[in-house]
Point group: C2
Chain length 108, copies 2
DNA sequence: TATTAATACATTGTATAACAATGTATTAAT
DNA sequence: ATTAATACATTGTTATACAATGTATTAATA
């Protein structure tokens, strides 16, 4: 079992990392929120709850990094699909290069 | 000038990265708080204020990742020197490997 | 048939931690 | 005499992950 310190640290690190992974996932294919939760678990091992992902998607929309559209389903609840915008692609690029610069400093 | 989104992102990312860099710096040599601020700027390009570093050092002490001692100066204000503990070294190691795993996923 | 689980959206309250602002005190420079 | 740099620290604000809760639909199970 992880110490309290390392658990808190994981949470704080996630606050920085998560938006990047969401943008990255959406740059590969459009997703709806619930789908993203499973996608992030699979692709990055990131376990995220609904109370995290929905507010995050709304925030990314607010900054015009995403677009969205409702899609009715043949059966069940309609899904809100999100797409990365041009601004989102630009932000993702900057975030990647920024974090890679930081990483070289950690190893050094 | 960076967008509001990227500025907030930098701040959030720092919350995850900073403890690692502090432990890393102290694993090289013991430092006092004010010195650490300049050390982090030089070694990692991290700009940190006193309102960030002092509470952080207190937090790391709380989790027994650091030890500290006051050192009187021939002139001026006494300095509180911090040393990394064995537990701190262990945490640093885990943090490094955890973050490097995450990083490979970003590149991938 | 009734109950549970999974899907799919969303909000509210709590906790963590960076940061600006402020405070105290000492010493050096202008 | 005033300002800047050094050196400690605390208070209030803000951003954001997360647990908990809520609504609604459909499938599986007991």
């Amino acid at each position: 079992m992880k110490t309290e310190f390392l658990q808190n640290w994981d949470t704080q690190l996630k606050k920085g990392i998560l938006p990047l992974f969401v943008l990255k996932a959406l740059s590969k294919k459009e997703c709806y929120g619930y789908e993203l939760i499973q996608e992030l678990k699979l692709s990055a091992g990131l376990e995220v709850t609904e109370g995290t992902i929905y507010p995050l998607l709304i925030r990314l929309m607010k900054y015009n990094l995403l677009t969205s559209k409702w899609v009715e389903q043949p059966s069940g609840i309609p899904r809100k699909y999100y797409q990365i915008s041009d601004l989102g692609k630009k932000a993702l690029k900057e975030m990647k290069s920024s974090i890679q610069m930081t990483m070289t400093k950690i190893v050094k």
